[in-house]
């Protein structure tokens, strides 16, 4: 299993600003994933972050809005840029496990944009 730490755990931000969320894993992993979970909803994949290459974004998510860094095999950041109240969500970092469809998640970052 993998232990994932996310920072911050929560934040309240002004609209128009940006927030960078950090994700630290206790082991080296090839792929890291970023999800968004809007209030009362399921998880939606934002992007897949591979070390040494640009992140792959899912439909509806763009790099200008959600830039991702992946400087090494244990760390990644997701930035939510030019925030609006619609960006208020929980953002989750995840890594895969050894088994198919096995994944480990961080505690999430609860973002409120006012």
């Amino acid at each position: 299993s993998a232990v994932i730490s996310q920072k911050p755990s929560r934040d309240i931000c002004q609209r128009g600003t940006s927030l960078t969320i950090q994700c630290q894993v206790d082991s080296q992993v090839t792929m890291m994933f970023w999800y968004r979970q809007q209030p009362g909803q399921s998880l939606t994949l934002i992007a897949t972050a591979n070390q040494g290459s640009e992140a792959t974004y899912e439909s509806g998510f763009v790099i200008d809005k959600f830039p991702i860094s992946r400087p090494n095999l244990t760390f990644s950041t997701l930035t939510v840029s030019n925030m609006s109240p619609e960006d208020s969500s929980i953002y989750l970092c995840s890594v895969g496990g050894d088994r198919a469809t096995e994944a480990f998640f961080g505690q999430g970052t609860r973002l409120t944009v006012v």
Binding site: I4, F33, L43, G108
Partner: protein, 108 residues
């Protein structure tokens, strides 16, 4: 990835066995069936995974019929702390697609 269908919500009482069924009619040969549990303000937690027949661990059992078009997560003797959202996923290695999940409410 195969689409999954599961009940939106279920209610139970402490000490009862709870069975949550998930339909996945379009499951592919290489797909596994995996269940996750999510408590409020936490990320999802892997519960159990199977390919066919029955799998049991310290938390739950997973029943998969021969045609693999559905699966049933069985939680024995639930407690209040089992109140959570349970997600059924099917797929192979790669990204995960979460459905709407089943909100299980356990009452005293």
């Amino acid at each position: 990835l195969a689409k999954t269908t599961q009940p939106i919500s279920m209610d139970s009482y402490e000490g009862q066995e709870v069975n949550i069924t998930c339909s996945h009619n379009n499951i592919a040969t290489n797909d596994y069936i995996t269940w996750y549990q999510q408590f409020p303000s936490q990320g999802p937690r892997f519960i159990i995974q199977g390919y066919k027949t029955k799998v049991t661990n310290e938390v739950a059992s997973l029943f998969i019929p021969a045609d693999r078009k559905s699966s049933t997560l069985s939680l024995p003797r639930v407690s209040l702390s089992d109140t959570a959202v349970y997600y059924c996923l099917v797929g192979d290695y790669g990204t995960l697609t979460f459905g709407k999940g089943t909100m299980l409410l356990v009452s005293p």
